[in-house]
Every structure is written in C-alpha cells, then in structure tokens.
Amino acid sequence: MSATLTETSRTGRAPGPRLLRGLNWLVVRQHRAALLTVLAVTVLGSIWIAYQHGRMGQTLEAAGWPEKELAQPAVASTTGLSLTVTALSALPVILAVFLGAPLIAGDQEHGTAQLVTTQSVSRHRWLTTKLLWCYAAVVVSGTVLSAFFTWWWKPYRSVFSSPWSEGPVFDNTGPVLPALCLFLTAAGITIGLLLRRVLASMLVTFVFAAIVEVVWGEMRAYLAPSRMLTYPLDGDMPARLNESLELDRWIGSADGHLYGWGLCAKTTEAASDACIKEHGIVNNVVEYLGYDQMPAMQWTGAGILVAATAVLTVFTLWRVSRSPL
C-alpha cells in the first residue's frame, strides 16, 4: 500500500499544491501573462476610479455643490475623468486585439495547436476551455470596471461633460462595457482562427473593432422606442426633457400636422409670425429618449452583443469540429 503511494508521488505530479488540473492548468499557464495583466488592469483601474470618485466629491463639496450651481464645466472636465473615459472606451478594443486575436491564431502559428491536439484531449475540449477562460477574464474585467465607473458617474452625472446617451457614459456603464468587451474579444478570436496569423489577425481585429464602434454609435439611439412630447409653442421646455436625448424636433399645428423645425425660420420676425399663422402652428413637438429608458437601452444593447457573441462562438466551435486547426 505504502509502496504504491510512494511510487505515485515519485512518478506522478510536480510537488506543491495543484489548484488547476488538465486543460485548465494548461490554458492558465499558457496565458499567465495576459491573465495577470487583465487582473492588474482591473484592480488598478478600480482603485483609480475610486480615487477619482473621491477627488471629485471633495472638489464638488468645496464648490458648494449641489446647493450652488457650478461654473460648468470646471469640475467635469478634469483630466482624471477624460483619461478614465478614454481608457475605458479603449478597453474592449485592447482586449480584442491583444487577448482575442492571438488566442487561437498564436497556437496555429507556433504549431502548439498541433502539440495540444495530439495529446489525449480533443481539440473541441481544448478550444472550449480556452474560450471559457478568455470570456471569463474579459467579462469579469469589464463588469468590475463598469461597476466602479457607474458608481462614480451616477451621483455626479449632472456634472459629467458627456450626457448619458453618448459613448463615454453609455458604453462604459452598466452591462454595456462587459458586453462590448465580450463581443469584440469573440470577434478577435474568430478572426484569428480564420486568418491563422497573429499579426494579421490583430490588425484586422483592430479595423473590425473600429467599424463596430462606429456602427454601435449609430445604433445606440435605436435601442429603445422613442417618445413624442408636445408642448405649446411659446411655453418653456418641460423639465422632463432636461436629461433626455432629443432625436428630432418639429413644429405642429393644432390638428396634429407636423412641419419641419426650420419651416418658419424667416429673416424677419414678422415673416415668421405670418408663417406660423398661415400654417396654424401652435405646438413644439419633440421626439426623444428619456433618461429613464437608459437601463432598458443598455440591457437591450448588451443582449444584442451577447447574442452576437453566441453566434461567433458557435461558428468557432463548428469550424474547429469540422476542419482541424
């Protein structure tokens, strides 16, 4: 009995505790540097955001906010904020280019895909393990950073230089940041798998990510059904529009007919008044997205991105099961 034990420990495993086994060990060992970097970025980024949050709080307190109006945008345009926003916006692209694109392409280019898949594990299992670790890393990183940034932004949103509907806030808070990280990384992995070359797939992934950012920016306003608000032509803008994203604006007659906003923008006031009378215009009509729609829009957007990730993942797994690496 004891002889068997001795034999096992001598011929068997390396000494020391083994937290991970099998493919998990291999994937973590192979991507140790990348995973540690993501971890460090997440931790340091969170600390940085917490520090900036505290600093902004102090500055605002010193300025007497929120009782006193601020001399905009003195507070909001601190370098700390713009740096944070830039870094967070770049995070999904960086993860896609430096973690996603080389994930499979690196193994294909260096032949280590051949090494691993000729051991006793199927390439399907190997790939699934790699994908899970990579997805977990980017989702955790994106979620933690997004949570910290949301926590910073929410109470101070009125002093932030960007409104909620724009990329710097919308894409970096709530579920959108982790979903963008996940989708772009999955795209990078797929591009890498198809191109089989690290450098080429990193370049293509970068271009693809840039295109996605543009398309995503255009898509944002369509993530929730817009609302219409009608108020008198000479009335003040209702308070509920203060934090809204105005999509379009018309002038309308009493019977509900809408005219272009510039219809009666004439050179003289008399001419404008005559125009207004002629068309019977009595109302301002605004098409807008309300701030209360933001969570719904973010979750819808994140849902679309996760669905696209699922499609890419299925394609990747199907492709690998059909044709060898």
């Binding site: 001598r10 011929t11 068997g12 495993r13 390396a14 086994r21 099998g22 493919l23 060990w25 291999l26 060992r29 192979q30 260096h110 032949g111 280590t112 051949q114 090494l115 691993v116 898949t117 000729t118 051991q119 006793s120 594990v121 199927s122 059909r322 044709s323 060898p324 690496l325």
Partner: protein
C-alpha cells in the same frame, strides 16, 4: 512474413490499417487510393519524394487532416474516435513546444493531458540528455528541444509513435543520440513506429518495414527483408530491342540503356534466364528505382495488402 502478427485475428494486431484512404486539397489529390496494413511492433519507414503525401498520411493518422475518402484505423479504432487519441503520439517536423514553458512544465503538460502518462520515463529521457529541468524551452538547443519533444511523445506511452522527419534538423551527434534513444525506447515497449525520412541510410539501419509513397500513391508496402529480395538488378546487352521486351515475363520497375548495355531493376516472375548478369540490389537501389518510375506496379508483401473486397476503389 506472417510470423510477427496474427492476420485475421484481433484487429488490434494492425497498428495502422488504411482502406481507400484519400485526401484532396484544392490543388489536387495529395493522397489517393491508399490501402495498406502495418503490423504492430514494427519500425516502419515512410519514404517518398517531397510532396509524395507522407505528411498528409501522418496528418490523417493524427486527425490533423480530414480524409476526403476512405478510412484509417489505429489498432482497430477509427482515427476520429476519441478512444484512438491516447494510443498514438506524434512528433511533427518542427516539433512545436511552448517556448515559455520550462522543461518541467512541458512534462507537466504531458501529465495533465494524458491519462496514461509515465513521468518516470519522460524524466529519464530528459535527464539522460543533461537537459536542465528548469530551463525554458525557448533557450534550449535544437537537439535538447528534440529530446524534450521525444520525452513528451514517449511519456504518453503510445502504442504507435508517428514521426515526421524527426531528425532532419539535427547535427550528426544529436541525430545519433536520438536514433539510439528512439530504438531503445521503442524496442523496450514494443512501440510501433512510423517515421518519414529522406535519409535512406537512416531507414536502412532502423526500419524493418517500409511504406513507399510517390505522387500520392503507395508504391511499395511491406517487410524491408522481403521487399529487397523480391528484386533483381539485371545487366545485359541491349541489342536493338527495348530491354523491357527482353525481360518480358518479369515486372520491370526501371530500365536504362547505356551504350550497348542495359541496367534494369526487375521483379522476377520465375527464374531469370538469359545472358545477363544478375545481382541483388541494395535497399537504396530498390527505393530509388521505385521513386523514379512511378508507373511501375505497386508491390505489397503479403501482410501489407488488404483483401480486395475490403478495398474501396474509385
């Protein structure tokens, strides 16, 4: 040559069994109509010019290439069955390893990914080459890296070891070391080895079984000891006629006329009668003749051929 195996018995007696195996790439067929058997326990040389289909055949056996047609079995298990995976080990031409792993980590990779891993054997192979366990693979010399790759392959305890030009990038000393290591490990375990090589002398020393490929088809398959004596080197007066006609009842693999003389490599079908000088060729001469003349009929020794009804012909 039916002494070393039991044909018709358990299918496990055949280390490799191909039936109508073929692979077509966009450029054309890399391998076609490939049917053969390799008995277990042999050291098999895979010979052929560049582009003959050697790497494709090894790729098919290791599931890195999907066959276009036909099937391939390893010890009776189809190669696309996961159960076949622990039974073979593969060493590719460029012997890929993780460059940032240490040697110890590389061996741990083997132990983590293979159920029947033999760490003692793998460590012995590494230690016998004085390869430091904590050196990174990227810092090792070519010979040391090959040794680590061999350790990874043998640690898997494969029944079948597939090697794609394993020695091609080694200096003569390392080549000798690796050959010795390969032979001793294979003999000790009874491992079946298939190795492709351009080095005919290397094959002559190590292999007792041959698989000769040219233009994606099998030219010869069988025992090295039986393949060579099946041929004769004939030298005679050419006269006016084609030497092939003179040698009519025999299978002429290759015939060349030099001046008034002809030299031919034939497979005699019966006694060679005539005013000729008959000599036994060397293995190298037989191989070269077959590689040069791809229209000669293929030759299989009895064990290597698959019965006609089993062959998928197209």
């Amino acid at each position: 040559m039916a002494d070393a195996f039991t044909p018709g018995g358990a299918s496990g007696a055949w280390a490799l069994e191909a039936r109508g195996l073929g692979k077509r790439y966009r450029r054309g067929w890399a391998l076609r109509d490939c049917s053969f058997r390799l008995p277990a326990g042999r050291i098999c040389g895979l010979v052929g010019p560049n582009g003959a289909g050697k790497s494709t055949l090894l790729g098919l056996a290791t599931r890195q290439v999907q066959p276009t047609e036909g099937e391939l079995q390893i010890f009776g298990v189809p190669v696309d069955d996961p159960a076949a995976m622990p039974r073979f080990a593969f060493l590719g031409q460029d012997k890929p390893l993780f460059k940032r792993f240490t040697v110890a980590e590389t061996l741990r990779l083997g132990s983590e990914l293979n159920p029947g891993w033999d760490m003692a054997a793998a460590e012995r192979i590494v230690r016998s080459g004085q390869v430091p366990m904590h050196a990174r693979v990227g810092t090792l010399s070519g010979g040391q890296r090959t040794r680590v790759a061999f350790a990874l392959a043998f640690g898997k305890r494969p029944d079948l070891l597939l090697l794609d030009e394993p020695m091609s990038d080694l200096d003569p000393l390392a080549r000798h070391d690796m050959s010795t290591l390969l032979m001793s490990e294979a003999v000790e375990r009874g491992t079946t080895v298939v190795m492709s090589s351009h080095m005919l002398s290397e094959l002559e020393d190590m292999c007792d079984y041959l698989l000769v490929l040219a233009d994606g088809r099998i030219r010869m398959a069988g025992d090295a000891d039986a393949l060579v004596p099946a041929h004769s080197l004939v030298t005679g007066l050419a006269g006016d006629g084609d030497p092939t006609d003179l040698l009519a009842p025999h299978t002429v693999v290759e015939a060349r006329v030099q001046g008034r003389q002809f030299h031919a490599l034939v497979r005699p079908n019966g006694p060679l009668s005539g005013d000729w000088v008959v000599a036994e060729p060397s293995l190298e001469e037989v191989l070269l003749a077959h590689l040069r003349s791809s229209d000669a009929p293929p030759l299989f020794t009895p064990g290597a051929r698959i019965e006609a009804e089993g062959i998928h012909t197209s």
